[in-house]
């Protein structure tokens, strides 16, 4: 198949360059010129309309299944676990898992957890409120994300540092040093399996009215999750829920520090918590791109895409596309949906949990941390792949005691 003539004229990004940023002027200028760019690792899709269509296009599969193999990791516990991810399954295997897992993630179940999320947020703020200063990542983002998972799974909350540590170590698998880090990654995975085995066993013995019991008892059409599927899924839920929530909360604070009037508004109108989460994820998503892979040769708009082509859907570039979004950061604006949770068949399974816990945390933070500003050296993950602050020192004026 010949590459369409227009492809050679498209903008080009080196997305493996550590200095590359999805929020750069380079990407903005490319989006003005073209709906896509060529990269050294497939195509990048830059505009809302095209991202929206390709996100749900069934001629594409989710695109990260080959990541470990690309990096020389082809066998062993990590490779097996990665292959088991619902994210890396397609077709009937994917549908089966999704049908079995979805009921445990029902939004109806989250309503009862809201007071616990609020209590947790307040408790964490209490610990640093009087000092007028915090490292937001270490003192709020990390413990909040890890303890929400503990609450969801029924693990004692004081074990949160272990959950956080295991997740962070497994996160090394998404970096290019995966092969060097493999022994450490596989030790952490064994730790997550231990938690899983214990929880599965305990709920089989004594069912409760909770998320974990629903997973263990999940049944559709006389089909159930096997023990291995359950432990694989639990390990994925811990890993998938921790890093993303911690990062997204840090990115939320960055967005609001830049928009102090919106932070004041959120303090006055806590019911805007849900809208605040959506607006933050539109302009500052932790998942900077969603990856797909073409299953067949096809023509899309004016270009030919070959089977096997990797396609990066740029979430933030699409979410801030001036063709469909008015500019600025406004938690009261009615806007089309963002792509921070991906979309289509692989739409984030845990989004109701993330939306619920973050929409409770942000208004409480806004009421209690007034006029926050970044005070000291913040450190950041690169603005590619999954991003967020690793250290975010904030100074603030004390707001309400509780």
């Amino acid at each position: 198949m010949t590459v369409s003539a227009s492809r050679s004229a498209a903008p080009y990004f080196d997305i493996s360059d550590p200095a590359f940023s999805v929020q750069s002027e380079q990407v903005r200028a490319a989006r003005d010129a073209s709906w896509y760019a060529e990269t050294n690792y497939g195509l990048a899709i830059l505009r809302y309309e095209e991202v929206n269509r390709l996100m749900k296009d069934r001629r594409l599969r989710q695109g990260s299944a080959a990541w470990p193999a690309h990096n020389g990791v082809t066998e062993g516990p990590f490779a097996d676990w990665f292959a088991s991810w619902i994210l890396n399954k397609e077709g009937d295997d994917h549908k089966r898992l999704r049908r079995l897992l979805n009921p445990a993630f029902s939004p109806k179940l989250l309503a009862s957890l809201v007071p616990r999320f609020q209590e947790l947020a307040n408790e964490l703020i209490d610990a640093f409120h009087d000092t007028g200063h915090c490292d937001f990542v270490a003192q709020f983002g990390e413990p909040y994300a890890a303890r929400v998972i503990a609450i969801m799974l029924g693990i004692p909350e004081e074990e949160w540092p272990r959950i956080a540590g295991l997740s962070t170590t497994i996160g090394l698998s998404l970096g290019v040093t995966i092969k060097d880090d493999l022994p450490e990654i596989e030790t952490a995975l064994a730790g997550l399996y231990e938690y899983g085995d214990e929880l599965i066993e305990s709920r089989r013995r004594e069912p409760r009215d909770d998320f974990m019991t629903r997973l263990v008892q999940a049944e559709r059409d006389d089909d159930k999750l096997s023990h291995q599927e359950l432990r694989d899924t639990l390990a994925l839920l811990v890993f998938g829920g921790y890093d993303t929530t911690r990062n997204q909360l840090g990115l939320a604070m960055q967005a609001f520090v830049r928009n102090p009037d919106q932070w004041r508004l959120l303090a006055e109108r806590p019911e805007l918590g849900k809208a605040a989460v959506e607006e933050v994820m539109r302009v500052n998503p932790t998942v900077t791109w969603v990856t797909r892979e073409a299953l067949e040769d096809f023509t899309f708009q004016d270009i030919d895409i070959e089977a096997g082509t990797t396609i990066h859907l740029f979430s933030e570039s699409a979410g801030t596309d001036p063709r469909v979004m008015a500019g600025g950061f406004d938690i009261t604006a009615e806007r089309p949906p963002h792509f921070g949770f991906g979309g289509g068949a692989h739409h984030c399974l845990g989004h109701f949990v993330a939306r619920s816990d973050m929409s409770e945390a942000l208004p409480l933070l806004a009421r209690r941390l007034l006029e926050p500003r970044i005070d000291g050296d913040a450190t950041w993950l690169p603005l590619s792949g999954n991003t967020g602050p690793t250290r975010l020192p904030l100074s603030f004026q004390q707001g309400t005691k509780r």
Binding site: R58, R98, R99, N102, P103, G343
Partner: protein, 64 residues
């Protein structure tokens, strides 16, 4: 039973078609098609579909 989908909210993610494939489907053009009066035997699946819809666009009512 009766089912309706708020088209102004629906984003065609297709999660409903995974939960209740006899009632919901994503057509070749990527748009949702569905049976507005499905048989009661699919009630549990339809409830799951409404629950799982990322944008909560599905309304389930009883016939009559």
């Amino acid at each position: 039973m009766k089912v309706s989908v708020d088209r102004s909210v629906c984003q065609n993610h297709g999660q409903c078609a995974i939960a209740a494939p006899e009632v919901f489907d994503i057509a070749d053009d990527g748009e949702l098609v569905y049976e507005p009066e499905p048989s009661d035997e699919f009630e549990a699946d339809v409830e799951d579909a409404a629950d799982v819809c990322p944008v909560q666009a599905i309304l389930v009512g009883s016939a009559g």
